[in-house]
């Protein structure tokens, strides 16, 4: 048994005293840090936690009932968000191929190139989507274009990492066979790597598409187009019933897209 199991069973003297000590200390540190975090984050809150619970009622009153008469007006923005996600996912899926191959340890045997791509992708993944959007909006002005760019770069980092992990887990034997029969690098990749990776690739692209639809809500908030733009306006005007309608539309869209992509995934694998 590993010592972690004792976390939940520390009252039973089944484990050595040292393990018990360690677990207790770790537990206390986590608890202490948690309490400290809670105090720090609640510092500027007016009314404390009890006031917050009362506020919940106020929220519901503010947001409900949603104003469904604006549905036709926000429809276009929702579609725009989906279009942004489609384009960004497609571009990312194309660019990701060379990057994923270069950052897969079993294919890229030239170490410096592997480490370079790995580091670049890791760096890319640390930048939040919002920061990318802010920078691209600063560069290209308000609109859909910076939004698409931000989503592309953002999803590229995630996708390339996931796909390179898929590539690293393939069966290397067919690759050896193709090499032994005189195939060049491209033929080896196309004939023995692509068929093994393709289903997983499609599934991951769909997953990243889902992430992109969600993320494009954030982007609109800083002027990068789509439904987020409209949502931001409504909230700035304290028009909560309208905002609630938009939230419900986003909620339903995300659910539908998740459902469709789950069905597609089942058909593929």
């Amino acid at each position: 048994m590993t010592k972690n199991n004792s976390l939940t069973q520390k009252s039973i003297p089944l484990y050595p005293a040292k393990t018990k000590m360690q677990v207790t200390i770790i537990f206390l540190v986590i608890l202490g840090f948690y309490l400290f975090s809670m105090i720090r984050t609640q510092e500027d809150m007016v009314g404390g936690i009890s006031g917050a619970l009362g506020n919940m009622y106020v929220v519901i009153e503010k947001f409900f009932p949603p104003n469904f008469t604006i549905l036709s007006a926000i429809w276009d923005s929702m579609l725009e968000t989906i279009k942004m996600a489609i384009i960004a996912t497609t571009i990312a899926a194309i660019i990701t191929v060379p990057l994923a191959v270069l950052s897969a340890q079993n294919i890229t045997t030239f170490k410096p190139l592997y480490y370079l791509t790995r580091t670049f992708l890791n760096l890319l993944r640390t930048i939040p989507d919002l920061v990318l959007a802010v920078i691209f909006v600063g560069l290209f002005g308000v609109g859909v274009f910076p939004g698409i760019l931000a989503l592309t770069v953002f999803s590229l980092g995630i996708l390339a990492k996931l796909i390179s992990e898929t590539i690293e887990s393939v069966d290397m034997n067919p690759l050896e066979a193709m090499r032994a029969s005189g195939g060049n690098v491209f033929q080896v990749i196309w004939y023995s790597l692509v068929p093994q990776v393709a289903p997983q690739f499609t599934s991951l692209v769909l997953y990243v598409f889902e992430i992109n639809v969600r993320a494009s809500v954030v982007l609109g908030m800083v002027g990068a187009g789509g439904i987020g733009l409209v949502l931001n306006q409504q909230i700035k005007f304290y028009n909560y019933p309208n905002a609630m309608t938009i939230i419900i539309v986003i909620f339903v869209t995300v659910l539908i897209i998740e459902y469709i992509s789950n069905k597609l995934r089942e058909a593929l694998l």
Binding site: N173, P174, E176, A177, G183, Q187, Y191, S192, P195
Partner: protein
């Protein structure tokens, strides 16, 4: 003709894979390499198509030293030397026909192969080879739907489609049961005789080596310790090669089935 002259191979971690190998393999021979696992059989065979590269000596295939080959030369060598693997090494998600056509890769341009633009002759050749190993009715099945023996037959068809002068087989029957093992060896033997393709097979089963080989090369610890026609081989020879008494698991058995 394949000729090893003082060939040695030291792996980067310092272990010696091959020690001063001097062997000449004539055209059309069916050679079986025997030895315990780790004796260097695999390294020996993989040197011939340069999946591993010896670090000293010279290795000649058809009179040319292949140790300096790179890029295009190397791929050309590999189209001439086909290989069969213990784990069949098929692309499991692709169908049988595509797997067999992959044998033409070395003869086909990159673009043509990527768009599956094989000539009629290539397709006919691939189909015919499937027929030769009696697996043509599975042509459009996915490779992972086939049994181990069937997959190994597909990989033989793949090698034949390459039209090689030499076939290397690295423990081709180690993952198969006795009857299927004999079937696969019979096909290899038949092809060797009919097409006059020089065939070099790694085996660790003594009885199979005796049954199919023209000539046996014994290896131990990276060295050739025996080399002679099968008629000169006795049980004692194997005991010398293995450095111990023969055991039951050194035999495949099941030839009658």
């Amino acid at each position: 003709m394949i000729e090893f002259k003082n060939v040695g191979l030291v792996y980067p971690n310092g272990t010696e894979g091959l020690k001063n190998i001097n062997v000449k393999i004539n055209d059309g021979e069916f050679v079986v390499i025997v030895g315990l696992s780790g004796a260097g059989k695999s390294t020996f065979i993989r040197s011939i198509n340069r999946l591993v590269t010896p670090t000293s000596g010279s290795l000649q295939v058809d009179g040319e030293d292949i140790l300096k080959y790179k890029g295009k030369n190397l791929r050309k060598l590999r189209t001439k030397v086909g290989m069969i693997f213990q784990n069949y090494n098929l692309v499991k998600r692709s169908n049988v026909f595509k797997n067999v056509l992959a044998g033409r890769l070395g003869h086909t341009g990159t673009l043509r192969s990527i768009f599956n633009l094989y000539s009629k002759e290539d397709k006919a050749l691939a189909y015919n080879n499937l027929k030769r190993v009696n697996i043509d009715e599975k042509i459009y099945n996915r490779a992972d739907e086939l049994s181990g023996g069937q997959q190994q037959r597909v990989s033989i068809a793949r090698v034949l489609t390459q039209k090689p002068n030499y076939i290397l087989a690295d423990e081709p029957v180690a993952s198969l049961d006795p009857p299927t093992s004999h079937q696969v060896m019979t096909y290899l033997r038949k092809i060797n005789k009919e097409d006059n393709i020089t065939t070099i097979v790694n085996l660790h089963f003594i009885d199979m080596a005796m049954e199919y080989a023209d000539r046996i090369i014994g290896m131990r610890a990276g060295e050739v310790v025996f080399d002679g026609p099968v008629s000169e081989v006795t049980e004692k020879t194997f005991e010398e090669i293995y450095g111990r008494a023969i055991r039951e698991d050194d035999l495949r058995g099941g030839a009658e089935e």
